[in-house]
Assembly symmetry: none
DNA sequence: CATCATGTTCGCATATTTGAGAACATGCGT
DNA sequence: ACGCATGTTCTCAAATATGCGAACATGATG
């Protein structure tokens, strides 16, 4: 990726990512901080920021509005549906993985 | 700019898969979603059977009825909500893990 | 200060999921 | 054949998520 001449791309996500992060270390720092968390809301936020999208941009990709994205990224929002997560994952070129793991796996607040 | 030479194959499934999905991101997305739904449905069924429960028993634990469980275990059901998955996971002493993974991660052909 | 981009919250209409009960199909053991 | 457990499908009401626009707060920039 250190070529002087950039690889031409039609990938909107890549373009936006470049535009948002290039030469802006503080934004990357904010990203690092968010990475530690693991609830769905934060995952969406983290992924969106990693991709360099604003809420409105992601909303457009997903086919909804900014207020909906904001709602989904709210930490206390419990109403996620798999359908919406899929739509978001698609927009961010990800896929969803859902696993059931035994509850007694030492990761809990014991 | 299409490849003039394709990797030869005698795999009819692969041929049809290619013919149907190549360059059709919408279809790929639909496939992904269908696969995810199927996985979730099957995971619930597997987990329920491993625990030795009938649909009605699990329904009671979850606080709903057998028809709902049956619906959730149907492969083509797309209406999963995280709230319901959580309830099922709780009843089966599991916890839900949701991950976004890059879509380019070599989707194994089906 | 003025303007713009961004995130946020609110309200309400629409769409979708859930809750529940009934009915039916199948298999299994008596 | 019968009874019974299990899974399945159907229909409806109720609960919940989404769609969408408006308005507001804040920070950055001209």
């Amino acid at each position: 990726m250190s070529k002087t001449k950039r690889t031409p791309t039609s990938d909107a996500v890549a373009i936006l990512h470049r535009r948002y992060y290039e030469g802006r270390p503080e934004r990357l720092a904010a990203l690092e901080e968010a990475r530690a968390n693991d609830n769905v809301a934060r995952k969406i936020t983290t992924l969106r920021l990693q991709t360099g999208l604003t809420q409105r941009q992601l909303a457009k990709l997903v086919g909804t509005t900014a207020s909906v994205i904001c709602r989904l990224e709210s930490a206390d929002y419990e109403g996620h549906s798999l359908a919406m997560l899929q739509r978001i994952a698609d927009a961010l070129k990800q896929r969803i993985e859902i696993r059931f793991v035994p509850a007694s796996k030492r990761l809990q607040h014991v």
